[in-house]
Amino acid sequence: MRAVRERDAIAKVTGQIPYALNVTLPGMAHARCVRSPYAHARIVAVDPSRALALPGVVCALTRDDLLDGQLFPYYGAAIKDQPIVAIDKARHVGDVVAAVVAEEPEIAAEAAALVDVEYEELPAVFDPVEALRPGAPLVHEQIVGRYEIPPNPILRPQNGTNLLNHMKVRRGDVERGFAEADFVFEEVYSSPALHHCALEPHVAVARWEADQLTVWSATQNPYFVRDQLAAIFRVPPERVRVIVYTLGGGYGSKTYARMEPLAAVLAWKARRPVKVVLTRAEEFVTTTKHEARVRIKSGVKRDGTLVAREVEIHYNAGAYADRSGTIARSGGIGAIGPYRIPHVKVDAYAVYTNRPNAVPFRGLAISQVAWAYECHTDELARRLGLDPLEFRRRNLLHPGDRFATGEVLEDIHFAELLEDAARAIDYHGPLPAPSAPERVVGRGLAVIIKHMGSNPATTRIDLRLDAAGALTVLSSTVDIGQGARAVLAREAARALDIPEEVVQVPFVETGTTPPDQGTTSSRSTFFNGLALRAAAADLRRQLAELAARLYETTPEQVAVRGGRVFAPGAPAEGVPWGALLSGAGVASLTASGTFGTQIWVDPETGQGKASHHWHQAAAAAIVEVDRETGKLYLRRLHLATHAGRVIDRPNAELQNEGCATFGLAQALFEELLFDDNGQVTNPNLADYMIPALADFPAAFSTTLAENPEPDPEVHGLGETGLPAVPPAIGNALRDATGVRLPRIPLLPERVLAALQAQGPAAAS
């Protein structure tokens, strides 16, 4: 018998691991969306008659199907502002206006082009700062009173504006801080929209059987999808079943509901199973990362002590709210960085625009602000004539310090992580020689803090032991490639002191696997570990009670270890659990464990407890810059994260390696481009660059820092390292050339232009 880890690994290297993309059902038809060519347009008329006349077309879905009251037409991760197909307006280029179902995908594609839509083009707004100005075109004319909004004190959209949320952090008196400072310095940094680009596209397959809906989806949030679907069809959630296999990548793009509502409604209308698979080009207008502009101002004493920091962030949310309210909240809270600063003022805005939907993206909310605060902190040190490492040392948060939220932080290791990163690149040693005369070399550091699991959250895990002795872990955590199933099996085996090989982990199926908030926010390994521990304690208790009954003793007299029970009157070598169940005539035992966190911050001040614990990372980079071409070569990269306790070393390292890969690509070349009409101009992998092996530095290393005490708290690693990487590279560019670029990616033409602007005399 093999452990889940090895079984899944074998299925992966033989190409046999299942994905939603593989699902094929008898009688299944295929869908294609009709998408808006305009960024903002009133929909005058939708006429599918030419499409319906095409042989092989099953049906078409238009707004008319949503307006007779049978269905609730909207969905959304928080504010339900996204219609299944556009009702009154199209709000971005690529917005879904209608959909067709046909026998074959090719026919559906042909038919989609035959749906006649009459548009009345409206003025559009693309920039989040412009979108907040009075008189800007409104993406949604009314939000409050029109859309369903969950009762959430930190989500406060404003009617008559494009403001989706405004998060404030107020601590001390920032103006007094600036007045007390010897040096005040302000900069603006920005980062572009990106696309997640999971190689498996968004896929959903829906089937109705009588009044039961089953949806196979590549989603990171199965229970959330279930509840959204139930609301659309106005049925109890139990009538909807969501099945999730392995995801072919997610990185945030497969969070909440994406194509499931459309697939389910199409299957309902077609009266047969329907599969929705997005094309690569559609992917680029379905999920993006928040473009952001960050204005950051710091006050510092002559001795290098930070006394005040003011940050203003504009996150471009795109056309629908999705999780942008939370992004403003989390970005606002994390915006000052891992520093001890007495006077803080942060305003984080999430703003509707006519861009495609911006959704959670690995490094959620923090990569945008970390790019700003870590470049700014570095620049501040250099302007003061201080070494950037030494400047950070003087201001970093240490255990017992208060963060911007007022909470006292413990279990924080920023200093150790930063020193580790500096050591890895021999920060105080001589720089490596450039490989050509026109090149210069430099090094940079960055250190970041990131929240975990941004809402009060609960996870439940069930353990089922059967009379054959097999232990099944029931969890709704999704394997996105991080090895979640393997970790569940390993942690269950650890909690129960049994071999990993006897543990089974079935795929996620709502109704069977227990409720879970979702596989997001680098939260799963931590939450699951503690829920599993509670479930294991419950199972041990049940086993002890069963043994006590069978051997006529008390549970306190029973020992449960190594897959056996030991009790007075029982065989001395112990009774295997399976034999105990058989002997007692019990078919199975089911134990349950839950773990939850309660966090809350005041939206007016940001004061409270913002995260159960904090993710921590530091990065160090050495770059070589060609002064003639502006091209930047990443020679050395190190990424250190705080892991607490490592459960599966190769998979933990892979999370850091993945974060490094994402981070260096964001620093060097990734950027979603738009024309003046809001159309994505690089919606394919020839023009939108994702990193290849050749882009990854041969000299890479990583540290997974563990706490020495017994049984330390596990920290998630999925996103932790990413935000530290781009500023480490940007700071290395500054070190090498004297050029400070405020916007990523650090494209050769931008670097070259900045070098030329310096003039010939001003080398580093």
Partner: protein
């Protein structure tokens, strides 16, 4: 439409295909070889890589009709759970994957590299595998895996 014979993983299949039908669709949708996966659809990402007479091709850009008469290898033909190919064993030992959507294509490219350049240096290895994109960013362990496979080949 034309009738062709494709030799896939050592077995012949007689099929009627459209002239413009990509090999990817035939392998995946008609022969049920689910290790062959579309990523970009334009021959950039390498997820749909298969070997034709031992050399890597993007199945999304290869017309099925033009693959007739050639020996086609997919991950299904590389090895099975019971009998893994040494390249698969190396990826298993080094955890050279995450979501594994790209893995079959990478395994086949690595297989071709080993046949073509059994003495590949690290630089050659990195260059050769740069046509296979792993969005999860597993490159460190992909390199480790291929190095391990090369070392094993040398030891034999």
């Amino acid at each position: 439409m034309e009738t062709i014979t494709l030799r896939v993983n050592g077995r012949p299949y007689q099929l009627t295909v459209r002239g413009n039908e990509p090999l990817l669709d035939v392998l995946r949708d008609r022969l049920g070889l689910l290790s062959v996966r579309e990523g970009c659809g334009i021959g950039i990402c390498g997820a749909c890589t298969v070997l034709l007479d031992g050399r890597p091709y993007s199945a999304c850009l290869t017309l099925a009709a033009l693959a007739a008469g050639r020996e086609i290898l997919t991950a299904e033909g590389l090895g099975t759970a019971e009998q893994l190919d040494p390249v698969q064993q190396a990826f298993l030992a080094c955890t050279g994957f995450q979501c594994s959507y790209c893995t079959p294509g990478i395994l086949l490219t690595a297989k071709a590299l080993l046949a073509e350049h059994p003495d590949a240096t690290d630089a050659e290895l990195r260059e050769y595998l740069s046509g296979n994109l792993c969005r999860c960013g597993s490159y460190v362990k992909i390199v480790d895996s291929v190095r391990a496979a090369i070392a094993r080949l040398r030891a034999e």
